[in-house]
Each structure stands twice: as structure tokens, then as C-alpha cells.
């Protein structure tokens, strides 16, 4: 039995990885819940952003702040473009899954072609810096990630709950015809939402690149975990997503600490299966 310090450290790292899952899943949850689009290419966006950040900071030596400021609007536009494609061909929920699956493969190949399949590690002063909190080590990057995720998730929640755009989007998701009859232009709102979703993906990509070594094949590794969190948290529900992500993150970290790291995928995928079979109404 591992020591209590080790367990506490595991829980802490679970919270951090949960925060990353939430940040990665937010765009998927919003698009699935409010636009009925299952965007698997969101994972590809996250990694594309990660590699761009790696390229600009590590290779070209740009300032991190500048990179983030440029990446967010860029990916916003990418999200808008994707939504334009869906609207143009009136893609339904299921077709969106297939189209974005294809898009993921294309982007993955592109990444492999440019940056090869090798693992890339980004060296920043931040990545090795950690502070000691009692007996626990807290990596500063991860602490920032947690704070950013909290801020983004709460902002997304407030945006959906309290602004006109958010209310109109939720109305449209429940009944597009009636919402349209009350003057809601779903088309325009969908562009905004899809753009915001992709921008949160870019933000997640920054942390994927800064926090750990990155390789193209990891794209599919996070798929099950994040989708499990998205479904468990409730589609289009940022706060639920955050809670579910952190829960799964902790469960995974404890599984790794108590058994072997290679058993970790079992937790998230089994959880996904159980939710789908026992509580399919959540989706």
C-alpha cells in the first residue's frame, strides 16, 4: 500500500489532469450539447495548437503571450470555418462524427508530416518549476492550468446562463423551430459558438504542449477520457464537465498509483460504457 503522501500527490495530479480534460472537453461539450455536432476534430485542433505553440516558442523563439494572443483568434476562425462546412452541407449529428473523424485523420497526418511521429518536448523555464506545499509538490504550469480552466469554465457557464447569446443558443438547442420563430438566428450564433469552442481547444493545446512531451498518436489517447467526461458531465454543461473531469482524473491517477499506469485507460473507458448503458438519457 503506497504511503498517504504518495496518494495525496496522486489525487493532486489527478485534479490537474482532470483540469486539462475539462479544458479539452469544453469545446466538444458545447458543440455537442448546443449545436448537436460531435466534433472529434476538436482533439486534432488541440494538438495542432499544441504543435504551433511548440514551433513558435521553442523553435522560433516568440514570446508565449504573443503566441497565445495570436492562436486564439486563429482557432476561432478555424471553428467558424468548420461550422460553415456543417451548415453548408446541413450535416446531422451522426454525419458530423464521421466527417470530423476524417478531418482528425487528415490533421494527424499533416502534423506527422511536418513534425514527424517523434515525441517533442518543449523546454520553458516554467515546465520544471514547482513549489512545495507541505509534503506535496505543485508544478507551477499545472497550477496555472487549473486556474485557467476554472476561469474558462465559469466564464462559459456564465455566458450560457446570463447573456442573450447563451440563452438564445440554449433555446435553439431545445427547439430550433420555435427559437427561430422568436427571432433567434441559429446560424449566426452557431458560428460564434463553434469559434469559441475551437478557441478553448487552442488554449488546451497550449497546456498540452507546455505541460508534457507531445506526439501525434496521443490524440486518440485522450479521446475516450474526454468523451467520458463530456457525457458524464452532461452535454453543454461546463460545470458538470469540470466536476466529471476532475473525478475521472483522480480515479485514473489512483489507478496508476495503485496498479500500473497501463491500466489507466480502463477507468475512463469502462466509465464511459457504464454511463452509456445505465444512463443514456444524459446524452
Amino acid at each position: 500500500m503506497p504511503s498517504s503522501t504518495l496518494l495525496a500527490q496522486s489525487v493532486l495530479s489527478g485534479v490537474f489532469s482532470g483540469a486539462l480534460y475539462a479544458l479539452m472537453g469544453l469545446g466538444i461539450s458545447l458543440a455537442w450539447g448546443l449545436l448537436r455536432i460531435i466534433n472529434l476534430a476538436h482533439f486534432a485542433f488541440v494538438f495542432l495548437a499544441g504543435y504551433l505553440v511548440y514551433q513558435c516558442i521553442s523553435v522560433s523563439g516568440w514570446s508565449p503571450t504573443l503566441v497565445v494572443v495570436l492562436a486564439l483568434p486563429l482557432f476561432f476562425l478555424l471553428g467558424v470555418a468548420l461550422q460553415w462546412l456543417f451548415a453548408r452541407f446541413s450535416v446531422d449529428e451522426f454525419a458530423s462524427l464521421l466527417v470530423t473523424f476524417g478531418l482528425t485523420i487528415v490533421i494527424e497526418s499533416l502534423i506527422q508530416w511536418i513534425w514527424t511521429a517523434d515525441v517533442r518536448r518543449m523546454e520553458t523555464p516554467l515546465s520544471t518549476w514547482s513549489v512545495k506545499l507541505g509534503p506535496l509538490y505543485v508544478p507551477v504550469v499545472e497550477a496555472i492550468l487549473l486556474l485557467v480552466t476554472l476561469a474558462v469554465v465559469v466564464a462559459a457557464w456564465a455566458w450560457l446562463r446570463h447573456t442573450y447569446v447563451g440563452k438564445a443558443l440554449r433555446a435553439s438547442a431545445q427547439n430550433p423551430v420555435i427559437a427561430a420563430a422568436f427571432g433567434v438566428s441559429h446560424r449566426r450564433l452557431a458560428f460564434v459558438l463553434s469559434g469559441v469552442a475551437a478557441a478553448t481547444g487552442a488554449l488546451a493545446g497550449v497546456f498540452v504542449a507546455v505541460g508534457s512531451p507531445i506526439s501525434p498518436s496521443q490524440m486518440f489517447g485522450s479521446l475516450g477520457v474526454v468523451l467520458a467526461a463530456v457525457i458524464l458531465g452532461g452535454l453543454g454543461n461546463p460545470l458538470g464537465l469540470l466536476a466529471a473531469s476532475i473525478l475521472i482524473g483522480i480515479a485514473e491517477a489512483l489507478t496508476m498509483a495503485l496498479t500500473a499506469p497501463s491500466w489507466a485507460p480502463l477507468v475512463s473507458f469502462s466509465l464511459l460504457i457504464f454511463i452509456l448503458v445505465l444512463r443514456p438519457d444524459r446524452v
Partner: protein, 602 residues
């Protein structure tokens, strides 16, 4: 994915013996190919083509036909791979003996998954896809962490092959060919069988298929078992072909991606569609071998998937027949006897005469104290009623009084919280819905729910195959023509339901109900939305159905029609029967007037 303007599939005729002969000749020729000593790369290329034909076709048997889109074909394939890998190495079994076991193991996995998942009504479409993908990763994790693989992978280089041909490559080629042929033969046989037609109906509207008599649960189990078993055998062969199996290669995203792509590309509602896709995609990948070209090939496949979904949602096979149908001028479509049969009693008795002869006036369908609660809301609160043979029993009530719930309970789609639905003394209340259809209960839907991708004729033939009569496909088509002639839709037999107007779609509902020669038909607001002239013709039709001996439960808001048609009337309010008897008397009862109009203010 489902554009409304797709052409109906051509109604397949008999199977010409010549085609079977040609298929066997091609098979024999391909099987003899190694005798001609083709170059080695050609044999291995054809091996890959046949492997993917087998995998894509087996995927289509479940996912293309029944619409249960699986991303878990890698799991079925992988179980086959590891069954053969484990048995040939650890247990030192002969290779050929492991293949049936590989198929069996995958089949058991498939049926096991189906037995759990197919009970959950919401697990269709994208959720089923995600679920099966998750199962793949769970199996991969288990294989990686247990002695099944353990991490380093399994070498099969020492496994000896049966010497069917001089070289192992030729032997494996032959085996892949045989599995591909088996998969194609099964898919072809299935498409034109009752089961296949039922699977197509399930893909369009599963609840309606069940109500029309299709045992949906067991048919879906058959489909997933067959699909998984074939993938397992293909996996077993492939384990020996690659000679070194690893978890990351076996359970990778490649298998589900490729089979989905091939099937979607080729067309997944036709037996030969996935094979077309498999040939094209394998040839494309083979053209881009090695280094960066492999990457370009992969990107190209992703791109193709996107383009096919956006531009060819029916795949090659579907688009080809759409084109063919477009070139065929409308007037020159297969000549069908155009018969706008005005419902006459003589025609009616041919077309609709009920099964057996019920003694006139004897109650034969009884609902006893039916309670139905949805999370505390009592939709039905102790409803008892009897339907007598040969009558038109009217069922009226304000909106929300429980009429539709009662219809769903009688047809078996909903199981009541308490109470019995007795037909000939058998309680149908706890049986699956298809049993009610087999017992001779048919219904129409207030908002017509035709199978969108089946032609009008096939829509009517389906219940004839499954409800009550249990006809073979050819007889069912004949029966469907009779029913269509009776409602005057025979000239629209080849059209898709989306090409009909509301009036015609309501009559299509009627034809589907009559096709089973029902003992009792539940007509759920057939008149709603019709013009006064259409209502008159509908009333005449309902009367002629009854005159032919079919009992009718007539649910309606239109009081003119109710008073004109019904022999007895039952009024439902808030889930209870508040009045019954002769229609003219019932409508004068104070509590009925109160339920409809409220009490007068004093």
C-alpha cells in the same frame, strides 16, 4: 446522411441461377490463381483486398443494414487475432482449428454486447458508435496487461500452415478469398431475405418495425453475431499473415476507420457496396506505400471519408442506382397494374378478410384494469374495455386522456404498470410488441411513420412478412400489392414515402395495417389533417374494411365520423373510462359533456 429525395431501392426480383453460376466461376478462377504463379506482391495485394472485403462486408451486415453504426469492429477483429495467436502459440493448436474458435469468440463477444446494449432504447447512432469504440479500448487495455499479450506482442512465425498451396502466401490468399466470399454470400443472402428486410426497417424506424411484428431484439443479435463472427475469422487469418501481433496495431483505430470508410464509400445498404469500397481504398493505400507516401495515403483516406459523406451520402452503389433511376423516364417505370380501386365490399373481402372466423359480437380482445404510470403521472388509471368481433369501437377523449398510451399498451410497445391485455385468453401485456402483431393486432400512426428508405411497396410488404401471416418475401410483395390496390396506391408502389402527400401517407399506413390481414386494427386519428372530401373517402374505406370482417378500434376527434361509423363508443378522461355504450347516448351523458366542454358556471 439521410436526404429525403433518395430513390427507392429497386425491388429485387428472383435470384437468377445464372448469376450464382457466374459468381461460383469467378470464385473458382480466383482460387486457382496461385497455380499461375503470379508475382508475390500481387498475391499479397489481393490478400489485403479480400481481407478488407471480408471485414467491410461483415461490418455492413450489422451497421449498414440495421443502422447500428459500430466503431468497434476492431474489437471483433482483435479478438479473432488474439484467439488464433494465443491458441497457436501457447496451446499449440493447429492453425485451421483455431479459426472457428476465433470466429466463435468474436461472435460471443458480439452477442454479449448486443444482449446488454440492444435492450437500451437510446443506444443508437452516435452513442452506439462511441460505446463500441470504448469497448475496443477496454479490450486493448486488458490484452496489454494480462498474459494474453502482456506488452511485447506475440510472434506467430513458428506456426505451420496447412499446405493448400506451395507457398504460405498462396495458402493465406486462398483463405482470405474464402472468408471474403463467405461474407459476401451471407450479405447477399441476407439482403433479400426476411431478416435483411427487417434489418433495413430497423435502420429506418425500429419501434415501428417491432410493432409490425419484427422481433427486433433477436434480429439485431443475429446481425451482430454474424458480423462479429466473420470479423473474428478474418482476424484469425490475419494474425498468421502478419506473424507478429501487437495490441497497438491490432486494436488501433485503423480497422474501424477503414471499414466505415469502405462501406460508406461503397454504399452500405447493398451487399456489394462495401466490397467496392474495399477494393478502391485498398488499391489507394497500396499505391502509397512507404515513408511519407504512407502518410499522404492516410491523409487521402481521411479526406475521402469527408468528401464521400458530404457529396455521396449513399455511396457508390447507392448513387449508381439513383442515376439509373433518374435516366429512366417516369412513365417507363416498371409497369404495374394501375388500379384506383374504389373500396367495394367484394374487393375488400379479398383484401382484408380477417384471420379465422370470430363469432360475431363475441368479445375477443379485452383490456383488464390497465394502469400505466410514467414517473408518478398516471396516464391510465384502471382502464377495462372489451372489443367485440366485427364491430367498430370508437375511443374518444380530450387531449391527454390516455388514448395514445392505451394504443401503445395494446400493441405491446408499452408494458403497463398493472393489468392485462387478453387476446384469446393470452396476456399480451408483458410480451414484446412483435407478439401482438403476430397475434393479428395492427395499428396506424396518427402522424404517419413510414420506413423512409423503403419503397411504398416494401413498406407494406414488411408487415406482411412479419405480422400474423409470416409470408415469404415474394408472397409478401404480392400481398402488399393487394393491400395497396385496396387503398388505391398501387401506382405509387415504387415511390419513396417522402414522395406521397399526407392523405396518401395515411392510406399507406392503412395498407400496412391491412397487409397482415389483421383481426383488429387500431386506427389512431386517421382523419386528422385531412380535407372534408378526403375524410368522406376515408370514412367509406374504414366502413369497407369492417364490412370485410376486420374489427376496428377507431380513435378519433372528429365527432361526425365517430357518430357515422362506430357501433359502440368509449370515452376516456384522465386515464379512466367515464362512459360507454351506444354513440348517440354516450355523447349526451353529462360527464362526457363536462370532460369536453367543462361545467357551466353557476
Amino acid at each position: 446522411m439521410r436526404p429525403a429525395n433518395v430513390q427507392a431501392r429497386p425491388v429485387p426480383g428472383q435470384r437468377p441461377a445464372g448469376r450464382i453460376g457466374a459468381a461460383v466461376a469467378v470464385l473458382v478462377a480466383l482460387a486457382c490463381l496461385p497455380l499461375a504463379h503470379p508475382p508475390a506482391f500481387f498475391e499479397s495485394f489481393l490478400y489485403l483486398v479480400f481481407l478488407w472485403v471480408a471485414l467491410a462486408t461483415s461490418w455492413t451486415i450489422l451497421s449498414g443494414y440495421s443502422g447500428y453504426f459500430s466503431f468497434g469492429h476492431g474489437a471483433f477483429f482483435g479478438v479473432g487475432v488474439y484467439t488464433t495467436a494465443t491458441l497457436t502459440t501457447a496451446a499449440e493448436m493447429p492453425f485451421l482449428a483455431t479459426l472457428p474458435l476465433a470466429g466463435l469468440a468474436s461472435m460471443l463477444l458480439g452477442v454479449g454486447i448486443g444482449a446488454v446494449v440492444f435492450r437500451v432504447r437510446r443506444l443508437r447512432g452516435e452513442l452506439f458508435a462511441l460505446l463500441t469504440l470504448a469497448i475496443t479500448f477496454v479490450l486493448a487495455t486488458i490484452a496489454l496487461n494480462t498474459p494474453i499479450d502482456g506488452g511485447p506482442g506475440v510472434f506467430l512465425s513458428g506456426v505451420s500452415l496447412p499446405r493448400l498451396y506451395a507457398t504460405p502466401a498462396s495458402t493465406l490468399y486462398l483463405m482470405a478469398l474464402l472468408v471474403a466470399a463467405l461474407a459476401l454470400a451471407l450479405a447477399w443472402q441476407l439482403q433479400y431475405s426476411r431478416v435483411g428486410r427487417a434489418l433495413f426497417a430497423i435502420a429506418d424506424d425500429e419501434d415501428v418495425a417491432e410493432v409490425m411484428g419484427v422481433p427486433t431484439f433477436s434480429y439485431k443479435l443475429r446481425a451482430i453475431g454474424l458480423s462479429a463472427g466473420l470479423a473474428g475469422i478474418a482476424g484469425g487469418i490475419h494474425a498468421v499473415f502478419v506473424t507478429y501481433v501487437t495490441v497497438s496495431e491490432t486494436f488501433s483505430i485503423t480497422v474501424p476507420l477503414y471499414v466505415v470508410l469502405m462501406s460508406v464509400m461503397g454504399g452500405m445498404r447493398r451487399w456489394y457496396g462495401p466490397a467496392l469500397g474495399a477494393i478502391v481504398v485498398t488499391a489507394l493505400t497500396y499505391a502509397f506505400v512507404g515513408g511519407e507516401w504512407a502518410l499522404a495515403g492516410r491523409a487521402l483516406i481521411g479526406l475521402t471519408l469527408i468528401l464521400v459523406i458530404l457529396f455521396l451520402p449513399q455511396g457508390f452503389a447507392g448513387s449508381m442506382s439513383s442515376l439509373r433511376a433518374r435516366w429512366q423516364p417516369r412513365a417507363a417505370r416498371p409497369a404495374m397494374p394501375v388500379a384506383h380501386v374504389a373500396p367495394r365490399p367484394s374487393t375488400a373481402s379479398d383484401a382484408v378478410s380477417g384471420v379465422g372466423s370470430d363469432g360475431a359480437g363475441a368479445p375477443f380482445l379485452r383490456c383488464e384494469a390497465i394502469h400505466m404510470a410514467f414517473k408518478g403521472v398516471k396516464a391510465l388509471d384502471g382502464v377495462s374495455l372489451e372489443v367485440r368481433a366485427g364491430e367498430i369501437l370508437g375511443l374518444v377523449g380530450p387531449n391527454g386522456s390516455g388514448k395514445s398510451t392505451l394504443v401503445n399498451v395494446i400493441t405491446g410497445l408499452l408494458h403497463p404498470t398493472a393489468g392485462q391485455v387478453l387476446l384469446d385468453g393470452i396476456d399480451l401485456a408483458r410480451l414484446p410488441a412483435h407478439r401482438a402483431a403476430r397475434a393479428g393486432i395492427a395499428r396506424t400512426y396518427q402522424i404517419p411513420r413510414p420506413f423512409a428508405r423503403l419503397s411504398v411497396l416494401e413498406n407494406v410488404a414488411l408487415p406482411a412478412m412479419f405480422g400474423g401471416l409470416q409470408l415469404a418475401p415474394a408472397e409478401a410483395l404480392e400481398r402488399a400489392r393487394e393491400a395497396l390496390a385496396f387503398v388505391g396506391l398501387l401506382d405509387r408502389a415504387a415511390d419513396l414515402p417522402s414522395m406521397l402527400n399526407l392523405h396518401q401517407r395515411k392510406f399507406l399506413e392503412l395498407a400496412r395495417a391491412l397487409a397482415i390481414r389483421p383481426r383488429v386494427v387500431l386506427l389512431d386519428e386517421v382523419l386528422a389533417g385531412l380535407t372534408p372530401a378526403e375524410i368522406d373517402s376515408a370514412i367509406a374505406m374504414v366502413r369497407s374494411i369492417r364490412d370485410a370482417g376486420t374489427t376496428i378500434l377507431f380513435i378519433e376527434h372528429n365527432m361526425r365520423a365517430v357518430l357515422a361509423l362506430t357501433d359502440r363508443l368509449i370515452v376516456l378522461n384522465q386515464g379512466r373510462v367515464i362512459a360507454q355504450g351506444r354513440p348517440a347516448d354516450v355523447v349526451r351523458e353529462p360527464q362526457v359533456i363536462e370532460a369536453y366542454l367543462g361545467t357551466a358556471a353557476c
